[in-house]
Symmetry: C2
Subunit: 345 residues, 2 copies
């Protein structure tokens, strides 16, 4: 089965995407894979599979490889004797900006390149934590209470300490701080505002139970991963997150009551079904007093959360067989025809 | 001043975009204009200025003209002796799908082509009337009360008659109906669901006062158009809308109290400033009992609402001089370096 892994991108998670692509390469060994790297200048390169190593990119060796351009229906490779089209489906594995903010999705859609990954609307709603709050509320999925601060706002906060400060639009814990008392707030806000104009503030609940659940839909039916209780660190810092993105070993299923699994799946389905068709996503939840709260949607989880699936290759194959079609619009010239007829020409 | 008008697109408003581009050509006569047509298959053509007539497109004559491809920094024209780059800024004049849903914006941004028009986030929030309701509420701008129906929902409606039924994601009055009594509801919903999976229902207020206000910001300061009281038809049907998109004559300023103008401008600024930098937009408002309600955001108004500006050419020039820069991200390989050093290679 042919599939092109698209990775890199102009984002703070550029390195993470490389690590993720290398992991997915291992996990999809039975596929006929191509590797398309998007560098920070948005130039595309076709990477030789044997060169799929982190140092290829950190040393800039990719620049010696074949450049690709994007055209209707696929990526094009120019050669002496004409152009070669790479028209297989694409797996969008660009984490963070570009990949998860809807840019790549819009571009692939525009050029009619079928792809695994969130569509542009789903991306926009999950990339910005503020929009995610809206979106979840509109679907009846609970999230923690929150406050929003804009860069120029007066720094008045009513959430009780300890609280957590997050840039609204970044993943991978970049710019996130736990604030235990008022004296630490200013610094935490300075850090968060380095990365975004909008910052979210939520209560920090030290002992909260966390559960992650991934899944995707094929022909309207959701395949759920196992439920994972993620390793308890206060929160994942950047380095731990890297390790997270290269995970490939299976994890143990969380020992949770069937009732909780049902609640998690119900919340997952509410989030997934309206907008995420075509993507494999991971939702991170809290459990508080028997109720499920959505913490975060990862529309392109690190290494696609392969470690949560019984049979990752079969899952990707199933998803590939059920990618959404963009509804084709047939353009009409009725109005122009009627006007030009009326004018007698 | 060089500027490329990008128009067409795979959308129900394809024809409208052509009409709009022809009008803008007249209104920006002192500019050095190029014309880039996007056909329904997403092929780009460079249109000779003398051929900027509606029949060029309805007869398919554009297909004989020069094809363009999109690359980093501009549109490229292949020739016998290499490629010619068209790297002037672009005015996105693709109405409806593609142009107003964020697709074109994402693509131009990705390829670092400076453009006039809404950015992808602004597009997505204004393209979907349901998101617009959210967005306005979060900014403290009033909108009419509404209900949302999804295609498979039970058709239970609590809004009193008469009411108005709108597909959530189309402009130009396509699929919109006024429903006077329950017996008409099913048909109106059938029509609306032809165009979208999600439908909005609002009270229909026959005698409501309507006011349109356009504007844009340059260096943080908003230039407002005059306030227009649009021609009173129950609502614009598709043909009237066409005429609307080719408007070029100045309109009379609405005779309204300064206090109302101030309220309209305040609401406009609340909507515009967070997300619409780089665009010239038109907001359509209702006035009800002395209060201003946002009805619709037109992020790419027909013929750019030229008829509302004292000096349209000077306005576009001012806007061109203040297009937002996408914050450049410098990719680092710190993590990969540290890992490979630890491994001793």
């Amino acid at each position: 089965m042919k599939l092109a892994i698209l990775f890199g991108g102009a984002s703070f998670e550029h390195e993470i995407s490389i690590v993720s692509a290398i992991t997915v390469k291992e996990k999809l060994a039975s596929f006929d894979l191509s590797f398309i790297f998007c560098d920070q200048d948005h130039t595309f390169y076709l990477i030789e599979p044997s060169k799929m190593k982190a140092v290829t990119f950190s040393r800039g060796e990719h620049r010696k490889m074949q450049k690709l351009s994007v055209t209707n229906g696929g990526f094009e490779q120019k050669g002496l004797f004409g152009a070669k089209k790479h028209d297989m489906p694409v797996l969008n594995l660009i984490h963070g900006g570009d990949g998860e903010d809807g840019t790549i999705a819009a571009m692939l859609d525009f050029f009619k390149i079928p792809f695994i990954g969130p569509r542009k609307e789903a991306s926009m709603l999950s990339f910005d934590k503020y929009y995610t709050k809206w979106f979840a509320a509109s679907l009846g999925v609970k999230t923690l209470p929150y406050e929003v601060l804009h860069k120029d706002d007066k720094r008045v906060v009513t959430t009780a300490y300890p609280l957590i400060v997050k840039p609204s639009r970044l993943g991978s814990s970049i710019g996130v701080s736990i604030v235990r008392e008022a004296s630490e707030l200013d610094y935490a806000l300075d850090v968060a505002f380095e990365f975004d104009e909008v910052v979210l503030i939520e209560p920090f609940i030290a002992s909260v139970k966390e559960y992650n659940l991934a899944g995707f839909a094929a022909r309207g039916e959701i395949t759920y991963s196992i439920v994972e209780e993620p390793q308890k660190a206060e929160f994942l810092d950047f380095e731990k997150k890297y390790l997270d993105f290269s995970r490939s070993g299976k994890v143990a299923e969380a020992e949770v009551h069937d009732n909780l699994v049902a609640q998690l799946r119900e919340a997952f389905a509410k989030i997934y079904l309206p907008l995420f068709e075509g993507a494999l996503i991971r939702c991170d939840f809290f459990e508080i007093e028997g109720e499920v709260y959505l913490n975060e949607i990862n529309p392109i989880p690190g290494s696609m959360a392969n470690y949560l699936f019984e049979d990752f290759q079969a899952s990707i194959q199933k998803l590939l067989g059920s990618l959404p079609d963009k509804r084709a619009i047939s353009v009409k010239y009725d109005y122009i025809h009627s006007i030009s007829q009326a004018k007698g020409k």
